[in-house]
Each structure stands twice: as structure tokens, then as C-alpha cells.
Amino acid sequence: MPKVYNWQIGRDMEYLYDEARPKKQFAMVMDTNKCIACQTCTVACKTTWTSSRGQEYMFWNNVETKPYGFYPLGWDVNILDKLGVQDIDGPVYKGKTIFEAAPAGDRMLGYLPDDLDYAHPNLSEDDSVGSMTQGAFMQVPHMQWMHYLPRICNHCTYPACVGACPRQSAYKRPEDGIVLIDQMRCRGYRECVRGCPYKKPFFNSITRVSEKCVGCYPAVEEGRQTQCTITCIGKIRLQGFITTPQQANEDNPLDYIIHFAKVARPLYPQLGLEPNVYYIPPIHVPPAYLKQLFGADVASAIAAYRKAADDKKLLGALLLFGATADIIHRFKVTDQFAIGYNEKGDELVRVPFREPIFLRPAFDEAYQSVRSNIT
């Protein structure tokens, strides 16, 4: 197998094809600390993309409660279990990726979920890891905890779905790195479903082929962020493009958050796909668990996030979440504002660091009436 460089695990690794990075790479940052699991993103995606026959069970975007929530059931614990215990300490990953752990006759380590694994899309919603004993009080990290994990396809740099498909029906677009399944070419072998450790390709039992999150490519082509991003109630998401650490540009808000401030981490980087959705880890969750999810650097990511108030540029980048429907390519912070620009350099949005304060007296002079709600 060809050798490619995966910066998330700090080393070369085996992949099915040679390294071929797209001109731009679709990416998203999600701040898990702000997600309220309202599922607005899920519904926005569902109504946009998966309302047809055979798509009834599909959630290209889903939000699960960790550690016990999964969609499909057990997706991550199943593949971690198959991969076995690996050494995830240190900047260079010493364990095996799913490509390096491929059993004989297969292209990667994977598994096909059971049909019933998709039966309960929000199983274990809000379940925490234990119950509180008499007299317990809240500490941080919490002794009983859970957190929300919103998920879309990671539009991976080294997609397992692309590597798995013997017909080359799954492909990565050179212009923006979005990973798609050619609906004409696919014959429904489900190798992508089996191969993708994140279980983001879905089999459509009516059209008899596989489908996956399309990264809202028609919107992205027009410079607009994905549906799940722009509808997010918690303003937890920012979608744009990312570069490698070597080419990182501190004026690109995603690059700044990921490569400079280093507060966001990929999901299960040890699997070797170089996924392009980055998470600001939930700060109240025990580090041992988070390390498995987000890799060795998770503790420093949390430490940096806690100090966000000292890093005005980071604070500015975080303010741009949910501030505009357009894709922000560059940003700048001034004394008062975080300003986002599009690819051409036009200003898209200007977000104040401090919201102006308006005082509304309890008595409304104009209407000569008392306000019952003055918030």
C-alpha cells in the first residue's frame, strides 16, 4: 500500500492511494461545550437531504449523548474493540490505524452494522455515567457526566469509504475535499458502510445503493456554510476550509482555532483517516475518556480553551460561530470587533466583543404601562 503523511498522528501511514490533498479542504469546528442537543441541525439536514423513500432511517447529521449514545448502535466502541488496545500517548501515534490493521483479503479493518443498530437514533439521550449519591455535590470534571457529540461525515483526508469501494464510486473532490458517492456508479456493495469507522455512509434499501453526507456541496460551491451549521441554535459550529499545519494561515479562523490556538481536536484520530471535523472537547468530562476520543493532546486543548479570555484572536474566531451564513475565509480582530471576510476579501460580518447594553425601564413612558417582562 502507498505511504501517506497524516499530520494528526504525526507520521506516515499506509493508505489505498497516494497522498493527493485537495486544493481546499472542507472542515468544520464544533464547540461541544455549547451544544444543547436540540437536534435542529439533524432536522435541518433531514429536511434538506433525506426526506425521500429509502432515506427514512438516515441521519447524515446526528447528535448523540456520549458515552452511551450511538448512531448506529455501538459504532465507535465496536471498531475500537476490533482494533484492540493501542498506544495513543505521545505526538506520534505508535498504534495501528484501521488501514494498517486490515485483515487478509480486506482493505481495512471494518465491520458492517446490523440493521437493528439503526433502530434507535437517539438511544441513551441524556444518560450520564452514574447516579449521584446522597450528599454529593458538583465538581469539575464532573464525577457523573455525559456530553453531546454532534456528528456529520468528516470528509476525511484519507477516507475509508473511498479506499473501500472496489468500483471507485466514492470519491473525494479535488476542489474542496468533499467526499461523495456517485449515485450512478454505486452498485450497493456496502463496502463503504463496512469500511467507514464513523458509519456515515448509509444503505438506501429502496434505491439499493449507498448514500452519505454531501457536505451541502451546492451551498459550499456558492460560498455558503452547511445547513447544520447555519441553523445551529447553540451557534456551536463554524464551517470553512482548513490547511495542513505546515501551510496554516492564522487569518483563517479554522486554521487559527485548530493549528494556532490548538483548542479543537479531530474525532478518533488514531483510526488514521485524518478526519476534518474538529471538536472543542467538553471541559467537564474526565480526561482519560476524552483522550480516547480526541487523542493525546486533548488536555492541552482544554487548558487553552479555558484561557480563551487571554487570547483575543481566539475569542474573535469563536465569536464568528453562527454569525453569518457565508463561509468565512479570513478574519481580523480589532479592539471592538471580530470581522469575517469571504474568499474575495469582502466583509461578511462584524461581531462586537461586547454587545451593546439597552436598559428598558420597568415603566414604559410612551405607552403609560408597566412592563411585566423587562428582560
Binding site: M1, L16, Y17, S51, S52, R53, G54, Q55, E56, A104, G105, D106, R107, L112, P113, D114, D115, Y118, A164, P166, R167, Q168, Q183, M184, R185, C186, R187, G188, Y189, R190, E191, V193, F202, F203, N204, S205, I206, T207, R208, V209, E211
Partner: protein, 312 residues
Amino acid sequence: MKAMSRILYLTALGLGLAGCVTSGPESAATDVEPVAARGSHYAAQLSKAVPAPDGGLQAVRVAGKGALLDPFAKEWDGVKPVTVAMQPQVVATPNQPNPAVTELSVRSLHNGHWLGVLLEWKDGSKSDRLVVDRFGDQVAVELPVIYRADSAPNPMMGAPGERVNIIQWRAAFQADLERKRELSIKDNYPNAASDLYPDQVLKTLDLRSYMGAAGVDNPVAKHRESPVLDQVAEGFGTLTTKPHQEADGRGVWKNGVWRVVITTPMSADGANAPRLIPGDHTVVAFAVWEGAAQEVGARKSWSDWVPLKLAR
């Protein structure tokens, strides 16, 4: 994978089969490793395994001129079945080293206009419902588009410039035929409930972009009038559905046995159809997938070329 190619290579030599062992085709899939041996060896090897008269299949001539579509037609009774050994596809990944079906029983007829191939194999479970973890039973007949006795194309789906015609029957398409209406979610999940679909509110033209594979007329995504796909290939990963679907077939599962007939017109349609002339020789190969064992695509068992003589 390399080791396995070598085993095939050594087996061919070990059996004392002469001929040129060349490196294999460049496939469209960049990761496919070279195939170490070519068709002629397999044909010779197989004639040992199949003790059929004259070393292969005879397509017996019958009267009539229509498609040979009835798997239970009485004409089949007069033809002696030939047992074809099936082996795991292990040249390309992914694969299934221990496929469920190890032999097919094959018969052949022709009427001067249509060739018919009757395939039978044991299968304890009829698999024609496709949901994420369920795959369908399938069988395929492969014929070279151009056959020269001195150099048969690569039996493993052909090679660039060595086009083969692959006619694949699928149990799920057979189920379409018997259902006589569009597949609905309740066929796959009887208790499913759904409210409104785009096709209930939008006109056909606006609808296409909501229909996924069906919206782009993917041949596997639409309701099938025929249970077979008439295709061509020039190597792994190149299987392409022919613009004109000419072949046809029927399959019946009874008492743990699939009995499937695949039929194709003998009048050639140029670059995509095999030359089938009464009195001539050609070769034929087979592939089979056991749905219950999750065999699909490259996870299959296949045969080498079997000589096929078309009666005059």
C-alpha cells in the same frame, strides 16, 4: 494477495500446463495487483475438474426463436448437466476466502437466435430482501466479446482491450418482477410508518434531485422489468451496464435450490455482445454470490473459462 497469485501461478505450472504466463492486466483500480496467469491455463485446468463430454459445455440446439426464459422448460431435461467448480475470488480485495457456493450445475441450449444457460446451486435460504445487513443471491454468466482459441481474455472480468460481456441475475430484481410494482419501505420493514415524501408533492422534473440513485437512472435503483443486468467489463472495477439491455432471465428458488436461466440474443450488437454462431466454439465463465453469507461485489466465487460448443 501476492502470495495467492503465486499459488495460482504454481498450480498452473504444477499441472504441467504449457503456455505463456504473463503479467496481468492494468486495472482501473490502482490497487489491484497483477494477475499471474491467464485464461488458457484455467480452461485447461478446469477441463480436468469437469469431466464433461468434449471437455466443456454443449449448447444443445432446440426449435423456436424466442428468448429461452423458462427454467423448467422440458427441453432442459434432455441436456446433461455439467458441474463447474467455483473458487474464491482472491486476486483483488476485498474478498471472501471461503465462499458458500463451491459448485454450479450448468446446462445450455440455443435455438439459433437465443442462447440459454441454466444454472442450479444449493442455497438453503432465499435472499432477495436488501437492507443494510442483508445481501441478495446473485449469479452471473461471462462471455468474451471476441474469442480466439489461442488467447481467451482474462477470465477475471476481462482486461483493457479484452472486453467481456457479463450478464448478472439478481434475486432482488427477480422479486421486483414478481411484485409487479415499485418497491416500498413496507416491503423491507412491514411496520414502517412514514408521512410525506417529495414525490407526493413535487412534479417529476423537480423531483429528480430528491431521488438519489433513482433520480439519475442508476440501473439498480429502479423497478426492474428484467432480473438481469447486461453489462461489459475490461478488468476489475470497470463493470458497466450496456446502454441496450438485451439479455434476460428468470430464477426460481425451490426446496433449497436456485434454478436460474440466463438468456442472451445470438445476433451480435457490435462492440458489446459476444459472437455466438451455431457450430462455433467459445468459452463461458461463472460467478455466484450467496446473499446470506454477505457475499457481494468482489466477495464472490468464480469459475475459470469453460469451453462452450454451440451445436450446429
